[in-house]
Amino acid sequence: APALAGKADNTIRFAYDQAPESVDPFFNNVRIGVIIGQHVWDTLVYRDPNTNEYKGQLATAWRQIDDRTIEFDLRQGVKFHNGEEFDADDVVYTMNFISKPENKVVTQANVSWIEKAEKVDKYKVRISTKQVFPAAIEYLAGPVVIHPNEYYEKVGPKGQNDKPVGSGPYKVTNYVPGKSITLEKNADYFKDSPKPQPKIGKMDIRFIPDRQTQMAEAISDGVDFIMHVPKDQAEQLEAVPTLQVVSGETMRIVFMQMNTLEGTPAPALKDERVRKAIIHAIDREGMVKSIVGAGSRVINTICFPSQFGCTDEGATRYPYDPAKAKQLLAEAGYPNGLQLDIVAYRERNQTEALIGHLQAVGIKTNLRFLQYAAMREQVASNKAMLTHQTWGSFSVNDVSAATSNYFGFRSEDITRDPQVRDLLTKGDTSVDPQVRKASYREALKIIADKAYAVPLYSLPVYYVATSDLNFKAYPDEMPRFWEMTWK
């Protein structure tokens, strides 16, 4: 029954639209997995979301030993939920486990940079990277959590999923795959953690796929917290007195790709004028204002502004100008417009708006709305023309996690400019921040000048919560329940 819960029994009921494939953060690649991961586990390093400053979490201090090695001093007296003590063995075990491809960690991009970890003494370890990898600390402050080695060795990833054990502020007390997961406050959470001691006693996370059902639950006081509410609905829910709506910018950027590869199904896109016409056709400000919503901003390069190395300095901007778009199309030999396919996988209403804008300048598009995997297949097999993409960089605050993914000749890259690739690689693998910044800037400028992609905007996230709750939204789409309190 809906009545009994919430503030009264210090439980927060949180509904999310997707169930994680596994609770183990290394074996899922969804947002809810990241959220659960950060509550149940700890990382070596903690990035303060307010100041973006790195703090020690399971590590107390770290230092660069050489270009590819970092040494960590570990915190003493930390215990996992099952009582196992935290020490260097846990770190070494975890790092070595996840770095081995045969262990089939799902989030390869998050771990493939790790070469190995070595124990120096009980509370000191060294982690080395395969190449020079400046973003290592950022990753260690995000997706790379530390597992208890004895338990993990015993039960393996499957056991860790069935009965997860971490060291974080919350522990898993009940998990029904696909249905719900219950977290309870870890009363023994170590005092010195940069994550504050949790106030809310229990988190009841249910997976409700249908957003309207979620909304109905929120309205009828069946849940206390939902997120990723579309703008229009969030604005409507603001009218419900028992609810509060908070929005925040996220690192997720939205952009369109245009296939200019050899053998592209849309040769027209090889013409720079056509690509520029497409960018000019889209009213990004208008979309941000009326569809995407507060907390969103228009971007001009394919990265999130707060990411290290991200800039639109010197990059060409393409204002909304349908007349110019039409003119460019005419110049390119398409006075009567043209027909293109577009593939997309989420934010369907935004795709529809894009289609509308393109249609207005004479570009008819045929939407193929696919599951992410199917869309990727289209892209990777050179069958896509236009894509409507979003990219969250796994909340990694570094351009290497964003632009490089789409312009570094990986399978997602459907422009393949070697010059851009070389610049990005240089940025990804240099130690000197200035060198990195310069190469990224140059790469981003080329991408913009040649109109290789359509930068659109960043995606905000709307949270709807019971009005009893104090909470704050952060750009990494991470609700931090450990710091929330009841009003």
Partner: protein
Amino acid sequence: MTDTILSVQTVAEASPGMRLARRFLGQKAFVIGAGILAVIITLALLAPLIAPHDPYAQNLALRNVPPVWYAKGSWLHPLGTDQLGRDYLSRVLYGARISLLIGISIVLISGIIGTTLGLMAGYFGGKMDLLVTFLVTTRLAMPLILVALAVVAMVGGSLWIVILVLGLLKWDRFAVVMRSATQQVRSLDYVAAAEAAGASTTRIILREVLPNIAPHLIVVATLEAASAILLEAALSFLGLGVQPPLPSWGLMISEAKAYMFFSFWLIAIPGSALALLIFAINLAGDGLRDVISPEGRV
């Protein structure tokens, strides 16, 4: 049989066509159903002429305008606009075309498959019948929505994919009904008489059997069209059907459900349109069946 003898003189007055028409018109349900259906079909055909706006033209400045009967509504958009500022009336009108197209195309595909199978099974019997019965059982054993969803999810939804997938999956009822109808007709003496007259099997199937089971075919076709339209709507509702910006009613419901708690009309309009269409088709189909076999309103 007594009836027939006695009716000789009375029936001589009206031509058979007239009498059939009278029988149809005597069916209130059929008249209502067919009437509504006719209106919907006319509106659908005339959509380009009567739609006040381009159903695809968006206007982000005029989003979610309520219909005219709300205080904030205006005659510019009699049924309001949707979340992208597109005229709702125009979309509903064009949506009728899509729903009808879906119903008709799916029924055409599945009807051809099912009727062929049913005719073969019913006419030839024996091994052919066993084979077709097995195929039908297999098809019935496959959870339709699930398989359709899965395939559409894999291939990617689009109008023609949905039509193809459902068309290839929904032939079972045709096969079952056509099989038993054929069996019935096959055992009648006029088929034997045609055989005895030397008519070839193909000829008998096409000229003697098919015309006599056609009424059943039409009834099944109407009811299947309704169910196909509903099924497409369900797929679209789950996001795995027709793709935007096509104004399919199922898709419109799916898109509007996000607004249902505060702008109920957005979901109510396509929802009622869909319900009305299905209602009309079913009513007409029912009436048709009653006219054809007044006893069995199954």
